[in-house]
Every structure is written in C-alpha cells, then in structure tokens.
C-alpha cells in the first residue's frame, strides 16, 4: 500500500500559542515524573526457576543457572515441586539416577535399555564422565547456591504427597511454601523458567 504523498495539511507552520506551549510543557513534566517512578520502582533483578524433574541430568540446569544468576547479582528463587524435590532432598540428592529409557540419544535401543540394571549402569557412566570433566557434583552446586543467597524452596503440597519430612532437606531450604508464593515471585521476576 502506498501512502498518500500529499503534504501534511494539519500543520500551518505557525508557532504554538503561549497557552499551547505551557500545556505541552506541563505534559512533558508529568511524563518525566511518571518515567522517573517507573525507573526507581524496579528494584533488584530477579529470577525464578520452577524445578520439576529429579533425574541426574535434569538436576543440573536449575542449579547451574541459579548460582550463575546469583553471581550476576540476581535475587534467585528455585521452587522445587514433584520430582524436583529429589534435588534438595539431602539423602536422595546423592543418588540421583539417569534413565536410559525414552532417550533416543542413548547408544542402546530402548528394548535393551529397559532391562534390569541398565539405569544403574547408565547413571554410573554419567557420574564418571561428570567427574572426568571436572563438572561440580550436585551437592557442591547446592552448597554453592545456598552460599550465594539462592532461595531453594520445597513445595509443601508435594512434600506431603511424596511423604517426605521437612527435615529431609538440606539446611537452608525453605519449606511451607506453595503455588501462590511461587506465582507471586514469578510475577515479580525478570526471568521465569520451568525446568
């Protein structure tokens, strides 16, 4: 669609009257004040991660991102729900498993991957690769996250559902929180992720 090339017939080229000028000036001042309040209301940068998976491979991304964001000066909350609770469960976190079933990138066919003992073997292989590549352990990342001020939260509903006790989690983990507080944090945050 081509625009009408006729000259702007609204403008007669005359300077604004003194009243118009004063109105414009008042409006500019009003907008500047609004902008200033927007800029100061922002507060610190925030990130919220919802961690829902408890396999060895899926435990890493939330912990790595959370600690990294904290190093960038972000206030970080990780809300662990369902199997995500395994990551911050002091005992279970040391024994997170990797499944070879349902992952087409695994070098064995699903039919063989489903045999008893295969998950154990896959997990052992992954753990030795993690150690060989100087990748931090889950425990180390949890300690780092807590030391960096990351708020690791355990969803109360799923603690009860999976029959865990509040004392089962690492020291420093926040319990007694639910979807509403997670949502409130997400609404406030600059970055929100579901893992």
């Amino acid at each position: 669609m081509s625009a009408d090339a006729s000259p702007n017939d609204e403008s007669d080229g005359a300077a604004p009257s003194a009243t118009e000028f004063a109105e414009l000036q008042a409006r500019v001042e009003e907008l500047e004040a609004d902008l200033a309040s927007v800029e100061t209301d922002d507060g610190p940068d925030k990130m919220v991660i919802i961690a829902t998976k408890g396999t060895l491979d899926m435990a890493y991304p939330p912990l790595i991102l959370a600690s990294t964001a904290a190093a960038f000066g972000y206030e970080v909350t990780v809300f662990h729900t369902f199997w995500g609770l395994e990551i911050i469960h002091e005992e279970n976190s040391k024994n997170l498993q990797l499944s070879s079933v349902g992952n087409p990138n695994m070098p064995v066919p699903n039919l063989i991957a489903a045999l008893p003992g295969m998950d154990h073997m896959t997990t052992r292989m992954m753990r030795s690769r993690i150690a060989d590549n100087d990748v931090a352990s889950i425990e180390e990342l949890i300690e780092t996250a807590i030391a960096s001020g990351v708020d690791l939260q355990a969803c109360q509903m799923t603690i009860d559902l999976l029959d865990y006790d509040e004392d089962d989690f690492y020291d420093g983990v926040t319990t007694g929180v639910g979807a509403a507080s997670a949502f409130q944090d997400m609404a406030d945050a600059d970055v929100q992720l579901l893992v």
């Binding site: 990294t68 904290a70 960038f72």
Partner: protein, 84 residues
Amino acid sequence: MSTQTADTTLDVKGENCPMPVIKTKGAFDELAAGETMEVLSTDSGSMSDIAGWAESTQGAELVDQVEATDSGTNVYKHYVRKVE
C-alpha cells in the same frame, strides 16, 4: 603480549562451568576499590563467561584476558579490576 600485575590471584584451574564465574564473583566482592584480581582457569568457556559477567556487573572492569600454556595445559588468565 602484555604482562599484567594483580593484587590477588584466584586459582580455579580444574573447575568447570559454572564454578569459575561463581568463584570470581565471590573473590571480587572481597576486593578493595582499585584492586585488580587475576583469575586462572582451565575452562575455555571462562573466556566468554567472565567477560559477560564483568560486562553485567557494576564496578567490575575486565582489564585483560590472556590465553597461555602451562606444561601442556591451556590456562585462561583473566584480569578484573574493581572500580569505585
């Protein structure tokens, strides 16, 4: 190649992502204004990670990044200064 001087050294050789950045941040917080810290890493990803961290962190200035070889191992040296 310029040789940089530093007030402190942080050795994170043998550690992988995300630890170099996290430990850099921790040690940076301990610096006094005007001080420069040298960070030694064997993680090649630390080149972009520490540059990105310094760019986003108020008061951190990336003075230099140098890639060197120490008995067959690549060592990435970062120089971060704390400005006022």
